[in-house]
Symmetry: C2
């Protein structure tokens, strides 16, 4: 017996549709148990299923594909124990991911199992009384949540026999791909716009793969990558966020699993999640529903809130206007890792936030910087701008009565402040003094 988790289920309600084993098309594709419980790729628009392969668009309607599973129904207690006995990484959830059972033994960066921090100081400042947690993904190997998604894409690349790992990126992803490929012994070739900040260029180049700067915008880089995939040059290439995207996206489910397990196998009332393409938010929702369907947590309502920067807030604008579609914008914000003006998963984000009773909100660059400082001085966590967006939005949600402060809330920090130092470059010494006690007294510090 198995739980069939499809795109349709993931965007509506948690549906348990037992089907008999052996009907999985994965066997047809010839990859055996390489994808674990994954059964097929399924179109999120029309539901058509395809064998597991390096494709990303529906051959019927051009809709996006995602991984559908025959998840292991059985004794939830036994599955919980199996997970708890697993490694301190996302691979403890291998039974729920499109990866082989021996994935932890293959050379990879072993991301995940990052800290869920009980944020009592921040809760006091914000007036949260129901319990507040920060899920801090700056603890990943290259210090952003991207290590999770790249790790799954890497396994797919190995299974498909792809030998070059690639991506288009504005920073975090380039570093994550470079590091993962280096460790796995694969070639990497990563594409970035030519005018990136030097720190991000260094992070993308230091792992020794090919780094190609493109004279043009991020959109130009993306267009070029699509061209490359269609050309014979691109044979044997796995673009983690293009032709491996269905696998890549599944990595974000592990955030849901970890939050639930770290809370003692239960769901929080509210989650505040940043929106770039929107994929992370939709996959966290998918993960939460799988946990319920598998009996790993008790079924209860939860609200998902989306967080954007005002300078790139197409989903927030659509939410507030009551629209079902998202109108693209030209990004202008310091939160560059969230600066996707035409978010592919925008409509799904609108569905999920509305279905769960959450909202989508945005904050200004000034509020982002204030929130970075707030989180640092209350909990000792130095977040990148995306973390300033989620904490800033949480504050705004409480102030405007959109989020119940008496409910239990988890807010995500998806990256590290060391990667976006420019945002807080104004932070400096309280005083500069001569090395004498009298100078110290005169500065009013004694």
């Amino acid at each position: 017996m198995a739980v069939q988790s499809t795109a349709a289920a993931a965007t509506q309600s948690a549906t348990v549709s037992p089907e008999s084993p052996g009907t999985s098309p994965s066997a047809d594709a010839g990859y055996g148990t390489s994808f674990g419980p994954a059964a097929a790729l399924s179109c999120r628009e029309c539901g058509t299923r395809f064998p597991l392969s390096p494709i990303f668009a529906c051959q019927e309607c051009f809709g996006p594909l995602e991984v559908a599973y025959d998840l292991p129904l059985g004794d939830p207690d036994e599955l919980r124990r199996r997970i708890e006995a697993g490694p301190a990484s996302i691979w403890r959830y291998a039974p729920l991911l499109p990866v082989p059972a021996d994935v932890a033994e293959r050379p990879n960066l072993n991301p995940g199992w990052t800290k869920l921090i009980k944020a009592d100081n921040l809760a006091r400042e914000l007036g949260v009384t129901g319990g507040l947690y920060v899920k801090d993904d700056s603890g990943n190997p290259t210090h952003s949540f991207k290590d999770r998604v790249v790790a799954i894409a890497l396994e797919a690349a190995r299974t498909f026999g792809l030998t070059t790992l690639s991506c288009s990126s504005t920073g975090n992803l380039a570093g994550a791909v470079g590091a993962a490929a280096a460790r796995a012994g694969l070639r990497s070739c990563v594409f970035i716009p030519h005018d990136l900040e030097s720190a991000k260029v260094v992070m993308a180049a230091v792992y020794g793969g090919e780094l190609v700067a493109i004279e043009g915008s991020y959109d130009d880089v993306n267009r070029f990558c699509s061209e490359l995939i269609g050309d014979p040059i691109g044979e044997g290439w796995g673009f983690v966020n293009v032709n491996l995207r269905p696998y890549y996206g599944e990595g974000s489910k592990t955030l849901a699993y970890e939050i639930a397990e770290q809370l003692g196998w239960r769901l929080p009332d509210n989650l505040v999640i940043p929106i770039a393409s929107g994929s992370q938010l939709t996959k966290i929702d998918k993960g939460l529903k799988e946990l319920i369907a598998l009996g790993l947590v008790e079924d209860k309502p939860y609200r998902i809130y989306g967080a954007q920067a005002e300078g790139c807030s197409p989903v927030s604008a659509a939410f507030k206007a009551g629209h079902d579609v998202v109108r693209p914008v030209k990004p202008d914000t310091i939160a560059k890792s969230l600066a996707i003006g035409n978010p592919a998963d925008g409509p799904y984000v609108l569905d999920i936030t509305r279905r769960t009773g959450g909202t989508v909100e945005d904050v200004t660059d000034e509020q982002i910087v204030d929130a970075i400082a707030l989180l640092a001085r209350t909990e000792g966590v130095f977040a990148e701008t995306a973390g300033g967006v989620t904490v800033g939005v949480l504050r705004k949600l409480i102030e405007t009565g959109q989020l119940d402060p008496a409910a239990e809330t988890v807010v995500l920090n998806t990256g590290d402040g060391l990667k976006t130092l420019d945002a807080v470059a104004g932070t400096g010494p309280t005083a500069t003094i001569r090395p004498t006690l009298s100078a110290f007294r005169e500065a009013g510090l004694a």
Copy 2:
């Protein structure tokens, strides 16, 4: 029955000196069980013991003080199980540290339990056949091993009723103290030289404590801090690396514990450890000997190798010259976190490396940069300059026949490459091209 682990034992051989309970001076000091198994402060020169208190120099001979323990002798299997069931942080070793039993429940950054990475790619490049591991402390909350030592000092500060956490620092330590104090709800006031790199200033300031820039060198900062401790202004202040230094130093023992546990409760043949003050190396040796004395690992020989940058290599110079004392130098190296010209623990490092059959070696700045790149491209680990020093020294040790490549070796990376980006600022794109396939082909990348 208890294992008495003293300074004298730590610099000679692992001595087990059972003594009856109740003779511990800790009871006299009035702190009850606040320091767990710690029994006293003990002078590393003359062995005189003092009650646990915020002092750091022997009142008899002015020698440095360190923590002496009545460690829990008993069934090693039971202790191992207790540790394995503990939290994924240094607090799993609370029974072996000068901290209260409930330490994990107090607000702190929960550092440690960082990855021990099996480095097969690096091993192949270096010709290591006996197994090679990287202990990667960039995974700590503020991305250096300093979180370990600060966490122990923080608990001592709380026990002594100190309300301001302080330090002199050139970077990593300032961030670790600022973050730990913020999370614990203590005031912090950190002192740095006025001419630090801006990234380090931001990291020191972002947690919201007082940050005081001193017009002068790091030596001037240190002198000023010593003056402050002796002045009434300094009452209630805990300088983690001055008056709390005996506690602070114990944090480095956890590196030894973690390496042994992560290897499956056994010792490696060789350890390559960076030398700044030398404290980390001496405490790792202390930790390894405790593991043997407690029966947690089998007793076997191990060799400890010290690693310095050529531009600040007073211990390496003394080792090679056969001296017992270390002649101070004026540092000039890109490995700034190791740039201590007059290392306090230098003589102890010479003792330990000679006693265990290891050596002390140094590498040039160019070799440091090469080693950072080597580690990044083989294992996907981006190390700070201190990690370039240890990996570079490992390579040199093998090339010069000082380290047996058929033996099992652990090399330490104590910090994150994002903190010392300048060292690899020359790293950049392979090519910069127009977004066309023909440009890609012309660049020779297809």
